[in-house]
């Protein structure tokens, strides 16, 4: 127990720094894919996108980030099998490993997921650095399966949403009036989906515990409020006959652009809820171990402290403010083929899927889920052209990231052991 006693504070500060750095990276790079969709379809300006991202990433991270953080903290490794000093060093090396791998990947432009990196890193130091038995192999199965299932699921949802829009709005005699009538329904759905998943699972660490009935009722309320705000905003949208002459659906798209404000919020929320865990999960583990004075049994049982989530949330916001806005602007310029009527479907499908995964405590990749949703719309003949070669690249990076994350984390782990032990 000497490590915790001797270096407890140093380690804590270091872990906080690493965790904050990772969260900064998530804010700087990862958020861009989530928000770029809205900027690209011109539903939001960059300034608006940044403000929404800051607010809702923060809320998502703080209010709904607990479950996934818990999984990274305790779900992957069996903390009782690992000596506390190794556990602390291992979690720190995981942060370093994932951080450096992501840095390399973003310089090279590889579609690497933060989630995959951190999970690979944690498994790596656990299985190789400590012992194969230290890994909850039973828990890895569902996580890896979720990486396959989430893009597929969001693809199916997006496909369905897109077809419903076609049937209810686009293929009617007066798409504009129909859009005004049915779009609030999608707004309700957005508010409802996000809040029910959050209320049913995520609020325990803030001290709110709701029953199923209560959360359903509350979510319905949130959905209704969202829809009402939406109706108010929609009432200001008028038909633009001039624009409609060259493109018949110009006015209809303006209605969907309002809807996209809401789905962008939900997207940022979902992203914050799931991805903040990649940064603060290992940090929470370190904090738990140190606070328990090295007693792993107590450390593992302790809940994720609120301030740890807060640190992650702040890190994301700082990342957005310092660098993320630039990346969002670049991505927005790249994605112009996605009009609001498609963008909203992609965002709502992704947000619903990711929020569900977050409530289940599954760390998933928001970007991959979003790619799945876009493909779903493509399959419904909604997008001009999609580069399928990207799928191959994503798959390759997927297969490469786990072992690389693991290797790097083993490397850092060995280094830290030499340094501290």
């Amino acid at each position: 127990m000497s490590l915790v006693a001797d270096y407890g504070l140093v380690l804590l500060v270091l872990a906080c720094a690493f965790g904050f750095f990772m969260a900064w990276g998530v804010g700087a790079n990862d958020v861009a894919n989530a928000m770029g969709t809205s900027v690209g379809s011109k539903a939001l300006t960059i300034r608006q996108a940044i403000l929404i991202a800051m607010l809702f990433e923060f809320c998502g991270a703080y209010f709904a980030g607990g479950e996934v953080t818990e999984t990274i903290k305790n779900g992957i490794l069996d903390a009782t099998q690992i000596p506390p000093d190794l556990f602390i060093l291992g979690m720190m090396s995981s942060l370093l490993a994932a951080g450096s791998w992501l840095m390399i990947a973003s310089v090279k432009g590889w579609p690497v997921s933060t989630t995959h990196s951190i999970v690979g890193a944690v498994i790596g130091f656990g299985a190789v650095g400590v012992s194969v038995d230290a890994v909850h192999w039973g828990a890895i199965g569902p996580i890896v399966a979720s990486w396959v299932v989430t893009p597929f699921m969001s693809g199916v949802i997006a496909f369905g949403l897109f077809l419903s829009v076609q049937a209810l709005i686009m293929n009617s005699d007066n798409p504009f009036l129909r859009a005004k009538r049915y779009v609030p329904m999608y707004m309700f759905l957005t508010g409802f989906m996000v809040s029910i998943m959050t209320f049913s699972k995520g609020l325990k660490h803030v001290g709110i515990d709701l029953t199923t009935a209560q959360s359903t009722l509350l979510s319905t309320g949130v959905g209704l409020v969202v829809a009402l705000i939406g109706v108010a905003l929609l009432s200001r949208i008028r038909m633009d006959d001039d624009a409609d002459k060259s493109f018949h659906y110009a006015s209809v798209e303006k209605v969907f652009a309002i809807l996209m404000i809401f789905t962008a919020c939900s997207m940022a929320f979902a992203h914050g809820a799931n991805d903040v865990a990649n940064a603060v999960g290992p940090l929470a583990a370190v904090v738990g171990a140190i606070e328990a004075g090295g007693d792993m049994l107590i450390g593992a049982k302790s809940a994720v402290p609120g301030w740890v989530l807060l640190l992650g949330a702040v890190g994301i916001v700082v990342g957005l403010a310092t660098y993320g806005w630039k990346v969002i602007a670049t991505i927005g310029k790249g994605i112009t083929e996605l009009t609001p009527s498609r963008g909203f479907a992609a965002e709502l499908a992704t947000a619903s899927t990711v929020v569900t995964a977050s409530a289940l405590g599954l760390p998933v990749s928001t970007t991959h889920t979003l790619v799945g949703a876009v493909l779903g719309i493509g399959l419904a003949r909604g997008i001009g052209a999609l580069n399928l070669s990207v799928i191959g690249k994503i798959f390759t990076s997927w297969v490469v990231t786990l072992p690389v994350g693991a290797l790097l984390s083993i490397l850092y782990f060995t280094l830290l052991r030499i340094l501290f032990l």
Binding site: Q166, N171, F247, T330, I331, I335, G378, N387, L388, V390
Partner: protein, 225 residues
């Protein structure tokens, strides 16, 4: 900065460039009307100028065509079959080709249109250009078609436009027959070689409408599920 993987998921949509190509193709064909007016007025300077313009437009259309083809790799996932799209493009490209042929031949041989044929000929050319205009109109619906996922109301709208196009083409067929008949009545008084080429030109003008109609048919084929 390396390209972001999410951005690279989105390929360049061929819809806009296809529409630009058709717009250029029609622009070239539409020159046939002032061209024939100049021929009838025997203003050979203007005829030459118009022929040059048409050759330039045809060339521009060619470039647009190549550009669309280059940006349609096999790995691209499109809402409509890639081969149908490329077929449509090559049919579109045949319109300015024929228009340029007509202008080239008429300028080269300094062809004069016999006085009794002048008015019907001008009407015939205008009608054929209208066919090309209608094809362009139908093609301009491509972006709306994409918006509705190539289904529903928009498809019905485009089908109606193609029907109109077919109607125009049938009209030009009838006009072609009557002009040929008039030429036949006159042919004994005219130099035989000139007459032969006049028949050729009449046929080629009809080709413009024919090819415009084929654009419409290909477009329909594209929409067929």
């Amino acid at each position: 900065m390396p390209t972001n993987p999410f951005v690279s998921l989105f390929g360049r949509s061929p819809i806009g460039p296809m529409q630009q190509h058709m717009a250029k193709a029609h622009e070239c064909a539409a020159q046939l009307v002032p061209f024939f007016q100049a021929v009838i007025a025997e203003d050979w300077e203007r005829v030459e100028q118009l022929q040059k313009d048409m050759a330039r437009m045809e060339n521009e259309a060619d470039k647009l065509k190549k550009d669309v083809r280059q940006h349609l790799p096999k790995s691209l996932f499109l809402p409509v079959p890639r081969s149908d799209l490329l077929d449509l493009l090559s049919v579109q490209d045949k319109i300015p080709n024929r228009a340029k042929d007509i202008a080239g031949l008429m300028l080269g041989r300094q062809m004069r249109i016999p006085q009794p044929l002048q008015a019907p000929m001008l009407a015939y050319v205008s009608r054929c250009v209208e066919a090309s205009a209608q094809a362009l109109k139908a093609l301009k619906e491509l972006d709306s078609l994409l918006e509705t996922g190539f289904g529903g109301r928009e498809v019905a709208l485009v089908e109606k436009m193609v029907e109109e196009l077919e109607e125009i083409e049938r009209d030009t067929d009838r006009m072609q027959i009557s002009i040929r008949r008039e030429l036949y009545a006159l042919e004994k008084e005219l130099p035989p070689v000139d007459v032969m080429f006049m028949y050729k030109i009449i046929e080629w003008i009809g080709d413009v409408a024919d090819r415009a109609e084929r654009v419409g048919n290909r477009l329909e084929q594209l929409l067929a599920r």
